[in-house]
Symmetry: C2
Subunit: 300 residues, 2 copies
């Protein structure tokens, strides 16, 4: 598989596949959600199942023009729509979910439901962002800017594994995963987050996350720039070419997210990962293009 | 005073002043330090006192051409140079310090010395960065990317006060200071850092930091973009035009620092603040220009 270096290549690769992934759109009663889905249908990268009020979707010509690639499941309210869509994911009828006009908390309740949900035992729900930064010649994943405030060791293991898996889906044979911190030294006393980093490196070397390279702590600059790494006299198999950044906590990850989108012209796609299927969870601030890219990433 | 909107204007304002600030250069035995000082001398924005081995400096023609604006104090090693320079600052003979070829820890020991140091009672040593980001039409201060890992309430008060003071030195009558977090809500249970934010807002309103506006929590994007703020339905006197960002901790601040310099083409100046005089503390990764801008900011 060829390495996917930007969102355009991802869309192209998906459009050229023999089969498309099926995505359930949960309560698609807002035009913003449908606009993103219409972009994905136009690009030929997904089939869509609209779980909600059928009449409202049928009034949307941008959707209906793709009638061969859409289907419907009726629901009378958003909570019922969430339950139906999650059930479809659990039964293997759909490959991904996308949140429409419902509360995130309500969706999470359905997703995490002990009896009917889609969180595998031993996994954890975490947020993965994939970003395309104009000055960087590759897609860059990072976690977690939205869901887990202060990851436990077990949660961080899941984050690393998910970055490794997503990286391989992007065609990187051995994704390079940098454990981020302001310091380059493991220092459990002053910087508690770094305490878990050596174990993650060892687990990666032992193959527990599949083919990948894990190293750190490094700051963002060293992780993404060979020159910065050399300037600090550091050597690492990451070599300043990280495919993924695992941030110590939500404050650092959120700062990265907001900074690259505001000041560096970055495009982003976001997913809930760690579930049986990926979930696209657009936020108010997302552009239609960002939602479209999220659908693409969920369909890889 | 006119508002200073970029480093070029700061240099120009300093060059046009009737008197120059005097900066002690501590153990200037490396060419990188001297190159930055030479730039500041060329621009006519400082007088320099070289505290170290005089013969080595005198061999540097780029410095000696400014003989009217330089002087010397002899020291036999870097620790002695630090002690002498800190003494000069305490006695009011110099207005700022700059670290040359010595260990940061050794410099901090001299600066923080209980008997001979320059930390005022009740103050705290913190790091302030001033950055010029191409896509932003103003200088932006932030703290603390380098010194205080997890600020206490008392330390954060000092950080806010220092931002307010530096902002006013930059000609902003009422600097807008945003308290950064991933969330917009104060939530002491899930996000402990936000617990201190309401008190800071009240103190600012009571005038404890001098003229300034303090609000938050906000994420980086809302703090720096009126459009982002509107999109989230937030209103604040910050109005998306923050002059300063006070980050919750060093991991978030360091992430911001490394991200804007690597991906957004930002220039930076850095200072140790909270002392009797500002201290320029260049790091290995700094460009000569960054060190020059730091000298300018220390001389405002």
């Amino acid at each position: 598989m060829q390495k996917i270096e930007n969102f355009g290549q991802a869309v192209e690769a998906l459009a050229n596949r023999d089969s498309r992934k099926k995505v359930a759109i949960i309560w698609p009663q807002d035009s913003a959600t449908r606009a993103a889905v219409a972009m994905a249908l136009d690009a030929g990268i997904i089939d869509a199942v609209f779980v909600g009020c059928r009449a409202e979707v049928e009034a949307d010509q941008a959707i209906m023009v793709h009638s061969g690639h859409i289907s419907f499941a009726d629901a009378t309210d958003s909570d019922q729509a969430a339950a139906i869509a999650v059930g479809m994911a659990r039964d293997g009828q759909v490959d991904a979910l996308m949140k429409g006009l419902l509360n995130t908390d309500n969706l999470l309740r359905a997703v995490l439901n002990k009896e009917h949900g889609i969180l595998p035992p031993g996994s954890t729900l975490t947020h993965l962002t994939i970003t395309q930064i104009p000055s960087l010649p590759r897609l860059l994943m990072f976690t977690d800017a939205a869901v887990i405030p202060y990851p436990t060791d077990a949660q961080r293991q899941v984050q690393v594994r998910l970055c490794a898996e997503m990286g391989r889906r992007l065609g990187v044979a051995e994704p390079r995963i940098a454990l981020i911190h302001c310091t380059e030294k493991v220092d459990a006393r002053h910087f508690p987050f770094t305490a878990s980093y050596p174990a993650l490196r060892s687990q990666a070397e032992a193959g527990e996350f599949g083919p990948c390279i894990v190293d750190g702590p490094f700051d963002v600059k060293c992780a993404c720039s060979a020159a910065a790494m050399a300037k600090k006299g550091l050597t690492s198999p990451i070599a300043g070419e990280a495919d993924a950044l695992v941030f110590p906590d939500i404050e650092a990850a959120n700062t990265f997210y907001k900074t690259i989108t505001l000041f560096a012209g970055a495009s982003t796609a976001g997913l809930l990962a760690g579930l049986h299927v990926p979930v696209v969870l657009p936020s108010r601030g997302d552009t239609p293009q960002s939602k479209f890219y999220s659908l693409a990433m969920a369909s890889l």
